[in-house]
Homo-oligomer: 216 residues x 2
């Protein structure tokens, strides 16, 4: 019987741990560690060894019995799974502090993210450059995306404008939106979205600060 190999849907719980594995493994490489067991990695990351093995085996058997995992190889595999083995064209819309902070972050460039352009409504910013990246008028956004095959749109505008910016992006064929405005942006089929909502993390923090200590 011919088996059609159908890739099983991986749960988001697993997917959201992958970048963390990727980061920790990168740190290990920097520290010159060449091999690690699920037990050691779990201790480092605050996960159980069992969970790590389960997670990794969603994608394949990357380890070796009696040995553990080759750090460099495993990081590379996870990078590939995350899609970090390819390059992406991106634009940032909103050239305020947050947009600039992201534009200046070395890490993304290092991972193959190309920032092609920035956009803003403010005429004082339009025409300037940040790290050699030119800031264009937001009216040129749609045309630019189409002409330059931009895949990722990064939204750093106030929440009132976030959905309309996203719509312009999608109208011109963007494939993914990374939204920092504090309002969930709605996307169409075949467009993926990450709504960051930074403040949610702060409010979780204050919740935890005030959580009753229940050492009963």
């Amino acid at each position: 019987m011919l088996m059609q190999k159908v890739s099983v849907k991986v749960s988001m719980a697993v997917v959201r741990r992958l970048p963390k594995y990727y980061r920790y493994l990168g740190d290990l490489i920097q520290d010159g560690i060449t091999r690690i067991s699920s037990k050691e990695l779990g201790k480092l990351m605050g996960l159980t060894a069992s969970q790590i093995r389960q997670d990794l085996n969603c994608f394949g058997g990357f380890g070796q019995q009696g040995y553990g995992y080759n750090v460099e190889e495993l990081q590379k595999e996870i990078g590939r799974i995350l899609g970090l083995n390819q390059s992406y064209n991106s634009v940032i819309v909103g050239a305020g502090n947050l947009g600039q902070a992201i534009a200046n972050y070395e890490g993304f460039r290092r991972e193959g993210f190309v920032l092609n352009a920035m956009f803003d409504v403010n005429p004082r910013l339009v025409g300037n450059t940040i790290r050699d990246i030119k800031i264009y008028d937001i009216l040129d956004l749609g045309g630019y995306i189409k002409e330059n095959a931009i895949q990722i749109g990064i939204i750093c505008v106030p929440k009132e404008q976030s959905q309309s910016v996203a719509d312009t992006m999608m109208d011109n064929g963007i494939k993914a939106i990374w939204n920092f405005a504090p309002a969930d942006v709605q996307v169409r089929d075949n467009v993926v979205i990450e709504n960051v909502a930074i403040s949610e993390s702060l409010y979780t923090l204050t919740y935890l600060m005030n959580e009753p200590q229940l050492d009963v």
Copy 2:
């Protein structure tokens, strides 16, 4: 029999949804909506009505049969649960773009977060002000925290410095750390931490972009 009412531990899954409820309810207030059912709110937020009722009932019965929830009242209650009914003193360490972006964000001020000071190592930045907030030398961090009863420390420095900044904060009695450096900071008992790791969200996005479409 006298019952000792012991507050049951609320799961992090629930806690992390609370800020989202808070935000959506705030938007509803702005739109002049005064009442809402769990069904309607669920539709809006992409959750089931059942989940919303379960979540809210971890903290009390805020609704009314046959009516639903009073939007304003519910938002206020959730704000209280999140600890947003009080004011917090905070400092930002690292006055680069990201630190400045957070310093400039109106939303936090509005919710009662007071930014008392910023700190940096760069002598060019020290002495400047951002929105009336003075930037101090990072050497003064410990003393400042102690003298001004700072509760929340916001870390916007490179990852190499993040743990030592956190240690200084904790040595001087900080209660909570909001860490934006791309390295998990370790905290002691009675100190709460949110490690944001913004890039993880981007890598999740590229994963989703490349996920095999399994419409079998």
